[in-house]
C-alpha cells in the first residue's frame, strides 16, 4: 500500500517535467513581449526605427520618461482621477452590491423573486447609448463631473449574483440567533454577514477596482475638462489620435505634422506608467481571487 503510493508519487513527479517545461515556455511567451515593451520604453526613437524592438535596448535612453514627467501635471492629474474613482467606486460599489445581495439571499425576504427578476431582466438587452447619454447629461447633470465616472455602472449585476450565491450558504440559523440576541438587520449585515463573506467581497472588490482602473469610455463621453480625464482615457486618446491621423493622412488638407506624433518609445513608456500600480496590487489579491471565485461557484 505504502509502496504503491510512493511509486505513484514518483510517477507524478516524472510526468510533471514536461508540464513544467510547458509552463516555463508559456510563461516566457507571456513575459517576453512585456520585457520588449519595457525595453522599448527605454530606447531612443531613432534606435527603434533603425533596429526595431529588442529584448534589451541597444542603448539605454530615458528621453521618453523625461518627456512624460517634464510636464507631470497631466499624468499626475489623470492618476489622481483614476485612483479617486477606483477607491470611491470600489468602496461604494462593493457596499451597495453586498446590500442588494444580502436582501436577495435572505429567505425571509418576501419580494425576493420579483426583485431578482427586476434586476436580472435588464441585463438581457441594452437601452442603447443615446438613452443613457440623455439621462446622464440632461436629467442627472453628470456632464464634466467625476460622479459620471463612478455612478453609472456602480452596481454590476453579475457581481451581485456572485455575492448572493455566497451569502446563501450562510446558515439562516446564524442570523436567527443574532436576532434573538437583539441584533438589528443592519447589525446582522455589517457584523455577521459581511465579515463572513470576505473572500467573495475581495473578489468583487478586485473586479470592480480593475474595472474602474480601466475606465475610459464614460470619461470620453462625459468629461469635458482635460484635468478630469482618467489615465486610461488619456492613453486611449493619445493612441487613437495617432491612428486617426495616420489613416487620414491623405485627407487632412495640411498634412500631418509628424513631429507632433509621439514616438514609439513614448507610447510604451506611457503604457508602463499606467499599468505599473495594478501589477503591484495583483499578487496580493490573487489568493482571494481564486478562492472567492471557486467558493462562490460551489452551489452555482
Amino acid at each position: 500500500m505504502k509502496k504503491s503510493r510512493e511509486t505513484q508519487k514518483r510517477k507524478q513527479e516524472k510526468t510533471s517535467l514536461p508540464v513544467h517545461i510547458f509552463f516555463l515556455l508559456f510563461g516566457l511567451i507571456c513575459l517576453i513581449p512585456f520585457i520588449t515593451v519595457v525595453s522599448a520604453s527605454f530606447s531612443s526613437e531613432l534606435d527603434l526605427a533603425r533596429y526595431g524592438f529588442r529584448v534589451l535596448p541597444k542603448k539605454w535612453d530615458l528621453t521618453a520618461y523625461k518627456y512624460l514627467f517634464e510636464n507631470p501635471k497631466m499624468v499626475l492629474n489623470a492618476y489622481g482621477v483614476t485612483i479617486f474613482i477606483t477607491v470611491v467606486g470600489t468602496v461604494f460599489g462593493v457596499l451597495f452590491m453586498a446590500m442588494v445581495a444580502f436582501c436577495l439571499a435572505r429567505s425571509s425576504m418576501k419580494l425576493k423573486s420579483v426583485l431578482t427578476f427586476y434586476i436580472y431582466f435588464p441585463t438581457l438587452f441594452s437601452g442603447g447609448l443615446t438613452a443613457s447619454y440623455i439621462i446622464n447629461t440632461q436629467y442627472l447633470n453628470l456632464t464634466n463631473s467625476l460622479a459620471a465616472l463612478v455612478a453609472p455602472g456602480l452596481i454590476n449585476i453579475f457581481n451581485v449574483f456572485m455575492i448572493r450565491t455566497f451569502l446563501k450558504q450562510q446558515p439562516a440559523s446564524l442570523f436567527e440567533a443574532a436576532k434573538i440576541d437583539g441584533a438589528s438587520e443592519y447589525a446582522i449585515f455589517f457584523r455577521i454577514a459581511l465579515p463572513l463573506a470576505k473572500p467573495v467581497l475581495a473578489t468583487v472588490a478586485f473586479l470592480t477596482a480593475l474595472d474602474k482602473w480601466n475606465e475610459w469610455y464614460n470619461s470620453m463621453l462625459y468629461i469635458r475638462d482635460n484635468d478630469k480625464i482618467t489615465l486610461q482615457h488619456m492613453l486611449q486618446r493619445m493612441m487613437n489620435n495617432i491612428n486617426v491621423l495616420m489613416e487620414n493622412m491623405d485627407n487632412i488638407p495640411m498634412g500631418v505634422n509628424l513631429a507632433d506624433i509621439p514616438g514609439e518609445n513614448l507610447r510604451m513608456a506611457m503604457l508602463i506608467v499606467s499599468i505599473g500600480p495594478m501589477m503591484c496590487f495583483f499578487p496580493f489579491f490573487q489568493k482571494y481571487f481564486t478562492k472567492g471565485m471557486t467558493v462562490g461557484a460551489i452551489k452555482g
Binding site: 440632461q138 463621453l221 488638407p253 509628424l258
Partner: protein, 486 residues
C-alpha cells in the same frame, strides 16, 4: 409565477412611459424659456471642433470674446474635442438634442452626407443672404456648391487648397549628391530612374516609402469601393473592370521586386518613426505650394518636391473641411454672424490661430508672425479647419505668396466633370463596410503576393462578393440622375 412576471413587466413599462412623458414636457419648456429672452445681452455660440485644447485656451477666449462683442455682439464658446472622439461625441450631441450651434463636417470624418440624410443640419440659404454676406463674397459659387444638396446649402466649405495633385519628396542631399533630375513628371513610372540610382548607391536607405497610390494620378474615386473614373473622360463613366487596380498592383509589385520598397511592408502598420528618421529617400505627398518648407518643418529633412501629373479638382474636393449648423440651434442668426466674422475678419481669425500678441506670438511683418518659445497657444496649423486659410498670417516655413499661389492653383486646375456631385451612400452602407474590410485586408498584400495575378483576381472577386457591383450600379444611377437634373 407567470402572473407575477407579467405584472412586473407592466409596471416597468408604465414606469418607462411615465419617464418619457415628463422628459418631453421639460425640454419644450426650456426651449420656450430661452427663445423669449431679449437680444440685448450678447448670445453665446457653441462651436465644436476637433483638436487638442491649448493650455491658454480660456485666456485667449476671454480676449477674443471682448473683440467679438465689440464687433458683432456675439460670444464664442469653442470646444476642442480630441480627433479620435470627435465623431462619437458630436453624433451623440446631435441625437440627444444637446444645445450647440456649429460643427465641423467633411467627407472623410464626421460624414456630411449622413447628417444631411438625418436632416440634422440647418439649411443656410437665407442665413447666408442675411448675415453671411462676407462668406458669399469670398466664396465663388462653384466652391459653395460643395456643401449644397439640391438647392439647399447645408455647409460652408473652408477655403484652402482644393486642387489635388500628387508629388514625391526627394531628400535634398541625395538630389545634390547624384545630381537627380527633379523636373515635374507625368506618371509614377517616370520616377524609376531616380529610385534605381538610390537603390544602387545607398544601401542603408529605402528608396521609396510604401504609401504609393499610382492610380490617383489619373483616376478619381467617388466612393471608397475601388471604383474609378478617368480624369480625362468628360462623360465621367465609372470603369467597370479591374484594369485600374491591376495596373497599380503591377507597379507596386515591380517596385517591390526591384527593392525600392521595404521588405516588411506587408506587416508594418505605423512607419512614421522611419519617416522622421530619414530612412526613406522618396516619399509620396499631396502637392501644394510651399510644401518644401512645410515638410522641412515637419520632418526636419530638407526635400525637393517633384509634382506628378496635373492638378485636378475632384468632385468632392471642397468637402474635405466644412462648417455646418446644428438644426436644433437656438440662435442661428448669432451663429451665422459669428462664422461670417471668423471667415472674413483677419484680426479675429488670426487671434483664434495665434492667441495674444507678445504673449503667444510676435508679429514680424504685416502678414507674418512667429510663436514665442514654449508658447501656450498655437493653433495656426488648424487654419484649414476653422475658416478661410488665405487670411492666416504666414509662419516660419511658409513663403510669402503661398496663399496667392494656392488660390491660383485652385482656379487653374482641371475640374472634374462631376464637380458638385455627392454620392449618397445611405442605400449601400452594408456593402461599403464589407468592401472597406476587403480593401484593408489586401492593402499591402499586393507587394508580396506569391502569384500576383491570382491574388489580384481573388481580391477583385472578394470585392464583387462584398457588393462592388451593387455600389457601381447605385453610383451610375445617381450620376445619371444628377446629370438629368442639371
Amino acid at each position: 409565477m407567470k402572473k407575477r412576471i407579467v405584472a412586473v413587466m407592466m409596471a416597468v413599462l408604465m414606469g418607462i412611459s411615465a419617464f418619457a412623458g415628463c422628459g418631453k414636457g421639460n425640454s419644450s419648456d426650456q426651449a420656450k424659456g430661452t427663445n423669449q429672452e431679449g437680444n440685448k445681452e450678447p448670445e453665446t455660440v457653441k462651436w465644436l471642433l476637433f483638436g487638442t485644447e491649448p493650455e491658454d485656451h480660456d485666456m485667449v477666449m476671454e480676449e477674443l470674446n471682448k473683440l467679438l462683442v465689440e464687433k458683432i455682439n456675439v460670444k464664442l464658446d469653442l470646444e476642442w474635442i480630441a480627433e479620435s472622439e470627435y465623431e462619437t461625441r458630436v453624433k451623440l450631441a446631435v441625437s440627444s438634442g444637446e444645445d450647440f450651434d456649429l460643427l465641423w463636417v467633411s467627407n472623410w470624418m464626421n460624414q456630411f452626407n449622413e447628417y444631411v440624410a438625418e436632416e440634422a443640419l440647418m439649411p443656410l440659404n437665407d442665413l447666408i443672404e442675411e448675415y453671411g454676406q462676407g462668406i458669399d463674397e469670398t466664396l465663388e459659387d462653384w466652391v459653395l456648391n460643395f456643401g449644397t444638396v439640391g438647392d439647399t446649402i447645408y455647409a460652408i466649405p473652408c477655403l484652402q487648397i482644393l486642387a489635388n495633385q500628387r508629388c514625391v519628396m526627394v531628400q535634398k542631399d541625395l538630389v545634390e549628391k547624384y545630381n537627380l533630375d527633379t523636373s515635374p513628371v507625368e506618371d509614377y513610372r517616370d520616377l524609376e530612374g531616380i529610385l534605381e540610382i538610390i537603390k544602387q548607391n545607398e544601401p542603408d536607405i529605402i528608396p521609396m516609402r510604401a504609401n504609393v497610390k499610382p492610380e490617383v494620378t489619373h483616376y478619381e474615386s467617388l466612393v471608397a469601393a475601388e471604383i474609378w473614373i478617368s480624369m480625362t473622360d468628360s462623360s465621367a463613366t465609372p470603369i467597370e473592370d479591374d484594369s485600374v487596380t491591376w495596373e497599380a498592383a503591377k507597379l507596386k509589385r515591380e517596385w517591390f521586386d526591384k527593392g525600392y520598397i521595404r521588405e516588411d511592408v506587408a506587416t508594418i502598420t505605423d512607419d512614421s518613426g522611419d519617416a522622421k528618421a530619414g530612412r526613406y529617400a522618396v516619399m509620396t505627398e499631396a502637392y501644394k505650394p510651399g510644401i518644401e518648407a512645410a515638410m522641412a518643418d515637419a520632418y526636419g529633412i530638407e526635400c525637393v518636391a517633384i509634382p506628378i501629373g496635373n492638378p485636378y479638382v475632384s468632385a468632392t474636393a471642397g468637402q474635405a473641411t466644412m462648417i455646418a449648423m446644428n438644426v436644433n440651434s437656438e440662435r442661428p442668426e448669432a451663429a451665422m454672424k459669428l462664422f461670417n466674422c471668423v471667415y472674413t475678419d483677419e484680426e479675429v481669425f488670426n487671434m483664434l490661430l495665434f492667441g495674444i500678441e507678445n504673449v503667444h506670438y510676435k508679429k514680424v511683418a504685416d502678414n507674418r508672425a512667429e510663436f514665442v518659445e514654449n508658447t501656450k497657444y498655437s493653433m495656426s496649423s488648424k487654419a484649414w479647419e476653422i475658416g478661410n486659410q488665405f487670411l492666416a498670417w504666414y509662419i516660419p516655413g511658409q513663403a510669402d505668396g503661398t496663399w496667392e499661389e494656392t488660390d491660383q492653383m485652385n482656379k487653374n486646375s482641371i475640374v472634374s466633370p462631376l464637380q458638385g456631385f455627392i454620392f449618397d451612400s445611405t442605400g449601400v452602407q452594408a456593402e461599403l463596410a464589407q468592401i472597406a474590410a476587403v480593401i484593408t485586408e489586401y492593402e499591402n498584400y499586393m507587394y508580396t503576393a506569391e502569384d500576383l495575378e491570382k491574388t489580384h483576381k481573388e481580391y477583385f472577386e472578394k470585392l464583387k462578393t462584398a457588393g462592388r457591383d451593387t455600389v457601381l450600379e447605385e453610383l451610375k444611377k445617381q450620376i445619371e440622375e444628377w446629370k438629368a437634373g442639371k
